[in-house]
Symmetry: C2
Subunit: 194 residues, 2 copies
């Protein structure tokens, strides 16, 4: 058995572009000080015209303090022509699919690194089915959102098939976005006029 | 009472950058042919390094055919340094908040146009609370995703306060993303190795 194989997890070096020692150290810090686990994420959107708007993702809080992202991320959303928009940006519901793809992909990289598996490829494709009679107000039996979402992950790395499958499964089991989609989140809406 | 005020809905001209006649015509077409309401949206993500990946939003189906967006939208996601990433792009969970902001904002513009209300400003801010002990695997009592989301909308337009509030309320009631977040969506995960 090689030296690497018997080394404790915490002694593993960076892998897959993941700073694995820092990842393990972060988990230990939070284990010993649970209030550091409390995070708040934020996004804005400013209406421009029609269904088109532009917003920013700039700050968040967590690990006991306020943070500013390395740069201000600008996002835009619109509807395509067939939905009476000008197709200047993705649909809001497409962002929901991308969030799932990205959350599980990032989790796969972290978990593979933690398990000493070098990845060579991860590809995610996600599709969601929607019946627009909901949002168009044509049916009260049809829900507004996705009726079903299917995500597919193709993974390649230096581990047996079963181990690679388990990495994807663990990424799903610990995915924030998978939980957000498959379990209800309480959402409150505030309105200010003027 | 002005001519505009007594005109039937369908005779209303474009407003707020919304092609209102086209919007009403689209709703009528779907009302008369419900299978046209079936849409499928799609997103991909390709792992690059660490928690960083890049994907595209390019095609969708609906209204009885396949569609290609006006251009290929490229999205990226990453984790910030405090979460052991390099902060090259928004977090996947931040996309979920932006999707909610954008979905309700677009709905407000459409509904205001349908009701003959000229908007001058709509601003959305959304925040979500997360306890990272879930995704870090430190607690089985703490959920992985958001524990709560709060969205605030500031709206200005040429209508009484109560009418503006009702527009936001109707946008919430018919929001695809609000439904996705507040009600469970069935999500299936496929895995291909190699």
């Amino acid at each position: 058995m090689s030296q690497t194989a018997v080394a404790p997890k915490a002694a593993r070096g960076p892998l897959n572009g993941v700073d694995t020692p820092n990842l393990f150290a972060t988990i230990d810090v939070v284990r010993n000080n649970p209030p550091l686990a409390k995070f708040q994420f934020r996004a804005t959107n400013t209406w421009v015209s029609g269904t088109y708007g532009r917003g920013t993702i700039e700050t968040f809080s967590g690990a006991g303090s306020e943070h500013v992202h390395a740069r201000t991320f600008v996002l835009e959303a619109d509807h395509p022509a067939v939905l009476v928009g000008e197709d200047r940006a993705p649909l809001p519901v497409e962002y929901m699919l991308y969030g799932l793809a990205a959350c599980i992909t990032g989790g796969i990289a972290n978990i593979a690194a933690a398990r000493g598996v070098q990845l060579s490829e991860v590809e995610a494709t996600v599709e969601g089915d929607m019946d627009l009679r909901g949002i168009l107000g044509l049916s009260n039996e049809v829900r507004n959102g996705y009726q079903a979402i299917r995500a597919s992950f193709r993974i390649k790395g230096d581990a047996p098939e079963e181990k690679l499958r388990q990495i994807v499964e663990q990424a799903r089991a610990r995915s924030a976005v998978y939980d957000i989609l498959t379990n209800a989140v309480p959402v409150s809406i505030g309105i200010t006029v003027g």
